[in-house]
């Protein structure tokens, strides 16, 4: 994971469908960097629903998704598969 830039997005307080739409918008914007392995996106959220919607949509795009739980918040990390 050396030389990979992590871009963080705090989407706390947002609920579906805007959480997914925001995540998809940022993935679409950064798709080239992600696919090249230069960039990974970290979405911080307190909405449990999007821990399944975002990973499923990102996986369908052929990306790798890791979900980490920290207390009541989640970090959804989207990177190159």
């Amino acid at each position: 994971m050396e030389n990979v830039q992590t871009i963080e997005f705090d989407i706390s307080g947002q609920i579906c469908p805007s959480t997914l739409l925001v995540a998809l918008r940022e993935i679409n914007r950064n798709i080239e960097g992600i696919n090249a392995g230069r960039v990974q996106l970290a979405f911080k959220t307190d909405n449990r629903d999007c821990t399944s919607t975002i990973p499923e949509a990102a996986s369908n795009m052929g990306l790798r998704v890791d979900v980490q739980k920290d207390d009541s918040r989640y970090t959804i990390l989207v990177s190159k598969a």
Binding site: P17, L20, L21, L24, A57, M61, G62, L63
Partner: protein, 466 residues
Amino acid sequence: MEESAPLHREEELIAELAELRSENEALKETLKRRNGYIHDKINQLLDVMGTKPLREEELDDDSIQDFDPLGIIFDSFRHILASLKEKNNQLQLLHDETMAIFSAAQVGIMVVDTEFRILSSNTKMREIFFGEVTEEEICGDHCRDMVCKGNIPDQLCAVRKILAGAETASFKGWEVRGHVFDVEAAPIHDLDGTVKRIVLVYNDITGLKQAQDELARMNAELETRVVERTAQFQEVNKELESFCYSISHDLRAPLRHISGFSNILLEEYCDRLDKEGQAFLRRICAVTNRMGGMIDDLLRISRVARTTLTLSKVDLSHVAENVANLFRDAEPDRSVRFDITPDLVARGDATLLGMVLQNLIGNAWKYTARKKDAAIEFGRTFMNGRETFFVRDNGVGFDMAYRDKLFRVFERLHGEEFEGSGIGLATVQRIIHRHRGEIWAEGEVGKGATFYFTLPDRDPDNKVGQ
């Protein structure tokens, strides 16, 4: 007329306004319907993405334009499609590879469904079982009709075993239609884990089996021949040993005469011979004595081969102490340090094992004769897990290059400076081998020698060769 004209104009404007209002309402209705359609489609797309529909506050036209969910989902779909296309390409490659392996495999491969219907089969499979048919022609037929033809009991049916829940099924030496196969089977599951198909692999080992049978037959034949040849060798060996014994025994009498008369000559007729004659006579006496010793040794080695072993527990340490005392008494002027590990016990023939220690300690005594601080050790060690006894000395040693000669009859590594017939170690080796043990030696010129030997298990039930 002047008053009615403006009135008429006003009425016209009112009518036109009413018409415009009506058109405006119709347009608003149309726009609302179209926006509703767009909202519905956006919500349907969101549903496809697995998330919730837009909320009321997200439904107004400005919000939709600002947030642009349609644009986001459109772009996402583009990326999903690109990813799917890539995956499809990879799957196609994988499929092509699998099909190439399937076609080229030199084992029969067949896929059946849970109703025993053949779904696909490779060339080798058709060659083995189906004859001149295409894959399409055989597709849909039952494997029970086409492969085992009902000759295989259910418990040897790989498909049944998989359907009963086994993760794999493997049958070795599965015989059908005069052929022998190793059969392997594995299930193909659907997403919920239900078995949908079964892959079967048939490896025709008929040739291998025949070769193995032939090899087993040849091995048995070879074994018989080895036994016969060994018996022949043993018979010849026995004859040779008898011959050696007879010759040695028969030589003793004339030799005794030569020795006896030589001694009489030396004692009673010595003054009638000149000095040279006397010297010749003394040499005759010396060599006849030496020859007598050699014949005794030969008779001893013959006896070792002919004697029946009488097995018992033998206190080797005690035997070694007795042998050491024997040598000390014979040459009390020599100073030799003996280091004998106590309580070393082995199972064997007491008389023969006594000869072993007498020879080995005797050799050590002999080859340390010129050593000031001579030392002889008898002890035990464990080599490769085996109990191994040893006799070690710090005498003249020997060159390891000649170690193979050590145990040969009449072979000697040292010259006349050390007495010996070259039979002692050959006798020791024969005794150890008769106990089914092993003997070997290590040494270095000027630094001493160590003779190691093993003896069979001490378990009284473990019979030693007679």
